[in-house]
Amino acid sequence: MIFLTLEHILTHISFSVVSIVIIIHFLTLLVNEFVGLYDSSEKGMLTTFFCLTGLLITRWIYSGHLPISDLYESLIFLSWIFSIIHMVPYFKKHKNYLSTITAPSTFFTQGFATWGLLTDMNQSKILVPALQSQWLIMHVSMMVSGYAALLCGSLLSAALLVITFRKVIRIVGKNNNLLNDSFPVDEIQYMMEKRNILKNTFFTSSRNYYRFQLIQQLDHWGFRILSIGFLFLTIGILSGAVWANEAWGSYWNWDPKETWAFITWTIFAIYFHTRTNKNLEGLNSAIVASIGFLIIWICYFGVNLLGIGLHSYGSFTLIS
């Protein structure tokens, strides 16, 4: 019982903190003067991280197995990975655009896991025979980490697409601080419209320069994070195959979840190949990565929603 209470407290703390972080993010964007708030939002993400870690450990202790055996747990794990991804650049003193992506991602995955339709899901369940294996830790943690990194990377690519397709972008008058700082794409659009009056041919070149720099940065960081995600996905799929050969009798069963994971893998393989070709680089690879974003969600949720195939452990029904 004490574990359940502890879990409740941790869930609520982490969710409240991440909500505040998001509000701070928006505030720093709208009102430039609150530069000091940026730091506090980072501290907030740190708090979220520790709360989620505590949540996972609590669940682990009282359920007796690694807490990634159903959808609720894997969602919490996903937002935990997001918060890790969020913090890595913070500790390396490398400011980049990832925090724009990771903070709301943590917010949404956690919000989805905690709220509404999954309320009956968060009861810890027993582990079915097929899941009782050492491979569970390796396979699921690698897959979820892979999803998290790939989602971040593909969101960066989607941001790149949006920025590229904007005719004018207003970055003049803002220093590099803003560039290094994070801001959602909508905000760029908003500011762009606000300052459109100031549009001046004189600024066009420098404006384009900053825009190209932004695109270049997005492209680069998108590529790096997608590489990590692809690596995790590869290890996850392969360890899953080895596990399947132990548990189900075949290393590949063309199970829907398996197949969609392989489709995801193929899509990101296409992404990396488009990057080796100069003619297809940049915009095209970003389009491929954005398609990948949809594919990951189909793989992660869509297949579970149907509840078909051998991976039915994480399935849920909307009307329950």
Partner: protein, 565 residues
């Protein structure tokens, strides 16, 4: 251009750097000679002029002896290329004609046939084609999950009717003609995979290996201009190239110094690993093919205490499937039992198996469970399923009778088995009796003749239950073990591929970074490039360059000892 294209692909950046190399190396003899050795680049880059220059600089790196040898060859070759210059220029992009081709070009059709494989190779290693193949495979796989697989034709007649086609054209005819009812073994899908495999081979052979060969050579840049044109460049006004070399070595670079020139590189594995990824994929494909053509599979449900022979269960999957000696092994299910959680849910199920050879000698004994299969002589036995085969029941101290249990279909994952003990006249039209239901081997629920609930008994309790004056004792519940058997010669190959793929994918994350530096009086010009971590590379190099000591006595660049730091 550097800003616009922050992530130049390895192939094009290679070409551009070499292109910028000093023209003083141009040697007409080598120019003509070399394209025939390195023509394979043209499959990725149509720019012929760049190509030839690339080759020149490569040639320059070779030892003088090699060059001499080349010169000897060159004397012959030049004549050849002079004799048939139009052929060379007409070939698409200078094409993939190997060394022998120019000799044969005069002979027409025969020459064409000789060139054909190269052309096919060039087409196959075309990147957009490979991307298209991957995309097609992804789409086919997605279709395979959307269309229910392995149903009877009637199912597809209903699901994709001709009157109301899906998307206006997609009817059952499409599904059945293209074999989409068994997508993952349909000719379309397998053909696509085979094509991708061939493309993989072609690409590895014609593009990746030559690129890696070039990358492996360490080469100096002898002009400051060329260094400045790298993706990253900097100028250190008072420094020595030796100091820089020491610092780079400290940072894990391989450093080569020759006079005023420095070349350093790091992470060469990052350049080679994509080849490894391709080879690993091919290995996995080969293993999967072997699995598909050379394996046996079969499943069997054996009640506790019974036997089966491996050969009776297994069925071949392809033309390469050949039975082995181990197929004569007889399996005996000594015991089947389950573990339960405290709440009563099934935790795990186990089967105690004994293996007997032809002479009836026990060769192996093991208790298997889900996630813990048995392996013997190439045969793997998995615990996959279970059911309840019979109840041993004692009625009024008669028996025990064996009552066969039948599976009752209910919705959901839970299993339910039932049996019936008739009471009174068995031959009467509406025979009544006692019903017994079981979800697992733990407890049996009993209902009387009217269908009213009477009680629950555990099989081992020996506790009698009284139903309408009859004393019923449930002696035992006999489970049967659902086993899956297979032999798969492809597994070792596939696992080797898995291992290689994991390793090479990890290595692919490494960046291959190259740094050139040139001592120019007291100043050092530094330039560098990398193929992956561009942002981090600049950061790292800036840090390293900050550490290079500044030399106070500006006229003596080599006295790094007096450096002030």
């Amino acid at each position: 251009m550097g800003i616009l294209n922050p992530t130049k692909p390895p192939c094009s950046s290679l070409f551009s750097t070499h292109f910028l190399k000093p023209t003083l190396l141009l040697n007409s003899k080598i120019v003509r000679l070399k394209p025939q050795i390195h023509t394979l680049y043209t499959t990725t880059n149509n720019n012929r002029s760049r190509l030839s220059v690339t080759i020149i600089t490569c040639g320059k790196l070779k030892t003088s002896k090699e060059i001499k040898n080349k010169d000897k060859k060159a004397s012959g070759k030049i004549i050849l290329s002079d004799s048939a210059p139009p052929v060379v220029s007409e070939e698409s992009g200078g094409g993939g004609n190997g060394e022998k081709v120019p000799v044969k070009t005069g002979t027409g059709a025969l020459g064409f046939l000789k060139r054909l494989p190269r052309k096919v190779l060039a087409v196959l290693s075309n990147l957009p084609l490979a991307i298209g193949e991957m995309f097609a495979i992804a789409v086919l796989m997605a279709l395979g999950t959307l269309i229910d697989q392995g149903e009877a034709p009637q199912f597809y007649f209903q699901k994709f009717p001709e009157e109301n086609p899906f998307l206006g054209f997609f009817t059952w005819k499409w599904v059945l003609t293209l074999g989409f009812d068994h997508m993952y073994s349909s000719p379309v899908f397998l053909g696509m995979l085979a094509l991708l495999g061939v493309s993989l081979m072609a690409c590895t052979y014609t593009t990746q290996i030559p690129l890696a060969k070039v990358a492996r050579r360490w080469n100096y840049l002898h002009s400051a201009d060329a260094i400045r044109k790298q993706e990253f460049s900097d100028n250190l006004p008072r420094a020595s190239v030796q100091d820089l070399g020491v610092i780079l070595m400290g940072a894990g670079y391989e450093v080569f110094l020759k006079g005023p020139s420095l070349y350093a590189f790091k992470g060469l594995a990052g350049r080679f690993s994509p080849i490894g990824v391709h080879l690993a994929m091919l290995l996995i494909m080969a293993g999967a093919t072997l699995s598909a053509t050379g394996s046996f599979r079969g499943s069997v449900t054996v009640p506790q205490g019974l036997n089966f022979v491996v050969g009776d269960v297994l069925g071949p999957s392809g033309f390469l499937s050949t039975p082995t000696e181990a197929f004569n092994t007889e399996f005996h299910v000594n015991r089947f039992y389950m573990d339960y959680y405290d709440g009563g849910d099934i935790k795990q199920f186990h089967t105690d198996l004994s293996l007997f050879d032809l002479n009836g000698k026990e060769v192996m004994r093991k208790t298997i469970s889900v996630n813990d299969p048995l392996r013997y002589g190439g045969i793997t036995v998995y615990q996959t399923d279970w059911s309840i085969s019979a109840l041993q029941v004692r009625k009024n101290d008669e028996g025990p009778f064996n009552l066969a249990m039948a599976p009752l279909k209910i919705s959901g994952d839970n299993k339910l088995y039932g049996t019936f003990l008739p009471v009174g006249d068995v031959n009467s039209p509406n025979v009544k009796g006692i019903s017994m239901l079981a979800r697992d081997l733990q407890s049996i629920v009993l209902y009387d003749q009217e269908g009213k609930f009477v009680g629950v008994r555990r099989p081992n309790s020996k506790l009698p239950i009284d139903i309408d004056g009859m004393k019923i004792i449930i002696e035992d519940a006999i489970g049967s073990s659902g086993l899956e058997l297979k032999t798969d010669p492809g597994v070792p190959v596939v696992y080797a591929g898995f291992g290689a793929l994991m390793l090479t994918t990890c290595l692919s994350y490494l960046s291959h970074s190259q740094i050139w530096a040139l001592q120019d009086g007291t100043a050092v010009t530094v330039g560098g490039k990398t193929n992956r971590a561009k942002g981090e590379f600049q950061y790292e190099i800036n840090l390293l360059l900050d550490k290079v000591p500044e030399i106070v006595e500006s006229s003596l660049p080599k006295q790094s000892d007096v450096a002030s730091g």
